[in-house]
Amino acid sequence: MSRADVTLTIDGKEVTVPAGTLIIRAAERLGVEIPRFCDHPYLEPAGACRQCYVQIEGQPKLATSCTVAVAPGMAVTTQHTNPSVAGAQRANLEFLLLNHPLDCPICDRGGECPLQDQALAYGPGDTRFREAKRVFPKPVPMSPLVNLDRERCVLCARCTRFCDEISGDRFLELFGRGAGERVGVSAGEDLRSPFSGNTVQICPVGALTATPYRFVARPFDLAGGDSVCGHCSVGCNVRVDVRRGEVVRVLARENSEVNDAWICDKGRFAFRTVDAPERIVTPLIRDHGLEPASFGEVLTWVADRCRASRVAFLAGGRLTDEDAYALSKLARTVIGTNDLDHRRGLDGGLAEEIAAATPMAVTAKDLESATLIVVLGLDAEQEVPVLHLRLRKAAARGAKIVVVTARRTRLHDVAEHVLIAPARLAAALRAAASGSHTTGDPMLDFVMGAVGASGADGVVLAGEQLGPAAGDAAHIARAAGARFAYVTRRGGDRGALRAGVHPRLLPGGRRFAVAAERAEVEAVWGPVMATDPGRDATGILHACADRQIDVLFVVGADPLRDFPDAAVARRALQNVATVVVVGTEVGDLAPFAGAFLPAAPAIERDGHLTTWEGRSQRLRPARTASGLSRPDWEIMAGLAIALGGDLGFETLEELHAEMAGLLAPRRIVEREPPPTPGPFAGPDLELFTYPLLVDEGRLSAGADELKAALQDPAVAEVHPETAAACGLIDGAKGLLRTNAGSAALPVRVTEHVAPGTVFVPFNQPGLAANTLLAGGFTEPAAIEPAAVPVTTGSGP
């Protein structure tokens, strides 16, 4: 027992808790249930609903256990042992139910409703209320996703406090007073927050409901299971609810290490893709068209084409750790190629090695105790939303946060932003990494100085927007002694890096080119057959286009949509002899696919996903795999057998045993700093792009309400200086040109992008940005006002 611990009794039972603990939390430790509505462990105490009365010995009035901290020797009695407490709670429930419509039989919450449950357990059996209840029009849409049935609301203010304290998206507010008090949004506004669904989940009654689930199911008809969200690399713990085999709802599960009690709206509402009509659950083989076939037929067909051929693998971001590992081993040992990559034209250099070798170097919890967090090239809200919430929490606990990007993020109210064009940022980071005394930019010099001064209390988070400069960021952090994490965006990225779905990195971040590191892998795998260094995604697609590759495996990926050069991706698919698609659907690849192998999505899987921290989390199937679909790793293992090889594992347990050895944390030895920097300069106008949270990505397919609530159409954002220089007007169309292509887009003039840049979202309706790119996510560009068509009869 430390000095800061406090011992008290609750209903006569002794409990010792840290000083400052609320009585209601101490009771939870003892398993003593105290009813509550407004209290939520991740929100500040409110004391609003008055349901959680307890008696504290020596105090004349009852106390609300959600607002009072424990004190040494305190003797607390609850409704279980104290009739006056039970009476007060019963009276309070009577008050709460006065105006409650008691429409439980048609309410989405019925059956899992805290008000229903607690009224049953602690409330009066009947009402003495004989007057007319309050009525309101219903439902009132707060947004296309969230509806409010005001009559059911008990005004606990959980939703408004969530918006205020957690997401910072202050759209929900209390209006009016007294019995007329009500939750609402200001006239003309929506609850436009990528975290809005959390307000529905924490509503202790059925007042807030989510459009996709409204009147869809009764909770007692739901099956399902605990899973991990694969939409991004945060790895939020979720529960997936299934009704008659169809996924109908995703809820957050509490895990204070990962996601507290929150998930983003994409994780919550973008689940229909697994039941989409495009989903294919049988193997297909090309025979005139793509025709259904057996697994055996297809595997044999594919194996025949792989023999003595030049084979390459492109993987996407949805693979589990096991899938990635099996793919890496298949490619390198059975097929014998280093041409495999899970990235799309990105190369994080040293950052990737660190990410692959050293799990948990920085955790989400670590951020809460950091004094300085420098976020480089990452729009956390859009790329890894629940990490954004963790950063806000860190800021609230006193961390200084500096975001260095080309576009302002929604951390703007809690963080300093330094807006700088990507090429200039890359040059500056290279300069800092190479030990130069100045980065070329005084603001960045200041930031680098702060990183140096903070040492181990500082954290550097590098995002994918940095491109190759992520490696330089890693050098800078190592030199300063600051902690470093490379925050890749997609749910499977970190697992794929660890497994070595990468042309130069073998499992555990071991470099193929370094014999000693390669030998560690060969000790387990046997010989790595390929001797040539591998091609990355760009190299693979160019080689396909040049007919230097015969068989291209596309595993959970769509190069046409994801690769930042649409033209090359198309040529590659057209020119490669055989395309084998492994995934949940064929989609746009149908014209090119020679064979299709149906993979099971994460919610139908047992396995692991690795978070951006390097935390490997177990998935459990929420339902059985649909049709003939099966885990990717089993497909890889089957293919190995069809090729006459053997991956050496037939069960998950065998696979895990092998992975555990190779993927144990490794120390990365000191590396030479990069060579002397080039000039601090960039193109006159630099196009940059990254995906926004809700876009045209396949994983959001069918999430119509989510898109109605949060999806923005494509725009080109430019700084006012750029707009003035190029003659652009806010709201009018601009013609954007690069060496790769051109597009006419509405222009948004905003100070929230760096001067000298133009931002377009990667994949919003109205523009596939990869038609403007040539292999990277930035590109020199020009923009001018789009020609306005002259209408007949106008002019002088």
Binding site: A48, A88, A91, N92, E131, G178, A179, G180
Partner: protein
């Protein structure tokens, strides 16, 4: 005994020039401030402590002690906030005090600021008090011109600014933490305590919140001393108190009396007795939120202790007198309706309880009472009392509980007759 009282807060009320700075200074105003700038802050606090001055806003907390709680070494600024959100039904003495002598408030505020090292004080004015705001604005302007406020208070080098802020018309904003929220631009709802305002008040900084009348007592305490202050009133409730008497009396209005003066003296000597000499039926000693008393309590002294012993509270000393033509059920319904209207909505017992109670009381008064309504009201009062987030709801409960305690028969009669038994009497009176 009231005619022997030497008026204090009201001594210049006969002089119309006291509203201006020259008239106030001619009558000895701002001498206490001149004295206070030369004193150590701790001595100012000690003097106020020694005087035994207690908060006049209702709770009666010792003022000097409140000032003494304010830490001055936190590195944060400290603030004085004047609670001029006078909203308790029946209360209007702050209004007249300010209308007649606004500089006394500014002087008291400035002395409080000196005592806690505050450079910026705020006066939160009830939204409906437009005229009083204008009077105060003018006075603040004059005080700046004369150097009683601003960068160099009384040439001492001390800086004190006073900012006037008008509320938007909400009773709850008289609750000190709701007032702070409102002052910060947030919803006027009370805050959790702890932290108390003395530690984390306005803008999370140490803050003293005092009522208008409280601060207006301070200049005399500094100028004339704690013993002088204690020379009237009782041992535990020293000094004078502004009393607002209204309702069925011959001469309603604001009167200054020594604390401890029996209600009978105020009613008969000052207010001229019950209107038209009719018998007294009920009275509230401190605004509608304090439990009603009856004709049996006319000799109770108007001070914190005596009223507590009688089962009520001094509150704001707003006496509302009801005579035998007044229906207690009707009065209770209207008072409870006020609290239902003014409930901020934050917590359940207040929001729902006052709403429900209003409906039941109106039903009884309207002749649709049921037998079970009386025990229901009794339970409801207790289910509200001391259960809510702040003290607003206790006002609701006071009305319900005290009217049932003293006038249960009248409730019964309403239910039994199926109408208000006094409606006939009203008709006779009006004829």
């Amino acid at each position: 005994m009231t005619d022997a009282l030497e008026p204090r807060l009201t001594r210049n009320w006969g002089d119309p020039s006291a509203v201006g700075v020259d008239g106030y200074v001619a009558a000895g105003g701002y001498e206490a401030l001149h004295e206070a700038v030369g004193m150590a802050p701790a001595d100012v606090i000690e003097t106020v402590k020694a005087s035994g001055l207690r908060g006049r806003g209702g709770a009666g907390f010792p003022t000097g002690m409140k000032w003494g709680f304010v830490p001055t070494d936190t590195g944060k600024p400290t603030y004085v906030v004047v609670n001029f959100d006078e909203s308790e039904p029946g209360t209007c003495n702050n209004r007249e005090l300010v209308e007649r002598e606004p500089h006394r408030l500014l002087e008291g505020t400035a002395i409080a600021a000196l005592a806690i090292g505050c450079q910026a004080a705020f006066i939160y004015v009830r939204g409906e008090y437009l005229w009083q705001s204008m009077v105060l604005e003018r006075a603040i302007e004059e005080a700046y011109e004369k150097g009683f406020l601003g960068a160099d208070v009384c040439r001492s080098g001390a800086r004190i600014d006073i900012v006037l802020h008008r509320g938007a018309g909400a009773y709850i904003c008289g609750e000190e933490t709701a007032l702070l929220n409102s002052l910060e631009g947030l919803r006027g709802q009370p805050r959790l305590r702890p932290p108390f305002p003395a530690v984390e008040g306005l803008y999370a900084s140490p803050t003293v919140i005092n009522n208008v009348e409280t601060l207006m007592n301070v200049p005399d305490i500094i100028a004339r001393g704690a013993d002088w202050f204690r020379s009237v009133g009782t041992e535990k409730s020293p000094g004078t108190k502004m009393v607002t008497i209204s309702g069925k009396v011959e001469r309603p209005g604001n009167y200054e009396v020594a604390l401890g003066t029996p209600f009978r003296a105020v009613l008969e000597d000052l207010a001229g007795g019950v209107l038209r000499g009719r018998p007294l039926k009920a009275w509230t000693p401190g605004g509608s939120s304090t439990p009603m008393l009856t004709a049996d309590h006319v000799d109770v002294g108007l001070d914190y202790e005596s009223l507590a012993a009688a089962g009520s509270m001094l509150g704001t000393a707003a006496i509302m007198v009801m005579d035998e033509t007044d229906c207690v059920v009707d009065c209770a319904a209207r008072m409870v309706e006020f609290y239902a209207h003014e409930s901020c909505g934050k917590c359940t017992p207040c929001r729902e309880g006052s709403w429900w109670a209003t409906r039941v009381l109106e039903r009884i008064e309207g002749g649709h009472g049921r037998e079970e309504d009386l025990p229901l009201m009794g339970e409801m009062g207790n289910n509200i009392l001391f259960k809510a987030f702040c003290a607003l709801a206790d006002g609701t409960a006071s009305v319900i509980n005290s009217s049932l305690l003293h006038f249960a028969d009248e409730f019964d009669e309403h239910v039994r007759l199926g109408r208000c038994p006094l409606k006939v009497v009203h008709a006779e009176v009006l004829a």
